[in-house]
């Protein structure tokens, strides 16, 4: 399911580490914030990243540039998500950085989806590209 939490677009997702057979959450789905200002795929709080045992894989580092010109150092590796209610799933670079407290769903994860933010009717929809 996708929807608005207040004015914030969200998606219910299952996160996976296919290489080590882990998923988060173990049952049900997690709420991810759709963040169109984030050019990456998925960013996770460290607790979620390690619950998926992604921290046991070979990690790459990169820089994230913030809107105020500041930078953050992030570490990540490849992982997967699915959003069963809207038929989306993908593999991509999943990362974490210090202080992150929400599951962020970036534009790379949406790069083959149609997303409609309809604030007139207070709803958000997402579906795979035709």
């Amino acid at each position: 399911m996708s929807g608005l939490l207040g004015l914030t677009p969200t998606l219910r997702v299952v996160l996976r580490n296919p290489l080590l057979g882990k998923r988060y959450p173990e049952g049900g789905e997690a709420l991810a914030v759709v963040d169109t200002g984030y050019e990456g795929f998925i960013a996770l709080p460290w607790e979620v990243f390690s619950a998926l045992s992604l921290d046991e894989l070979h990690l790459e580092e990169r820089r994230l540039v913030l809107a105020n010109g500041g930078t953050l150092s992030a570490k990540g590796c490849y992982g997967a998500f699915s959003a069963p209610a809207v038929g989306l799933s993908a593999d991509g670079f999943v990362e974490s950085y210090e202080g992150l407290q929400e599951v962020l769903f970036g534009v790379e994860a949406l790069s083959r989806a149609r997303v409609l933010l309809d604030y007139c009717n207070k709803r958000m929809t997402a579906e795979p590209c035709p």
Partner: protein
């Protein structure tokens, strides 16, 4: 990146696993790569995985605030 058989937008990547600089497996998805590593008796923790769509070294992350 989103797996959709009819999608004509962003191409789907392939993934390759390297151990000590040598390619040991590849796959069209992480699930396929994982299966091949398991068949080959390779520990996923011991490999470096790369994608045909390389990770950009610098990306924008926006700025999130919190009401205090």
């Amino acid at each position: 990146m989103i797996r959709s058989p009819r999608s004509a937008s962003t191409p789907a990547p392939r993934f390759k696993a390297f151990e000590g600089g040598r390619e040991v497996a590849d796959g069209a998805s992480l699930d396929e790569l994982s299966s091949k590593l398991r068949e080959g008796g390779v520990d996923p923790r011991a490999v470096r995985i790369v994608s045909t769509m390389p990770v950009r070294q610098v990306v924008r992350a926006g700025l999130r605030g919190k009401r205090t």
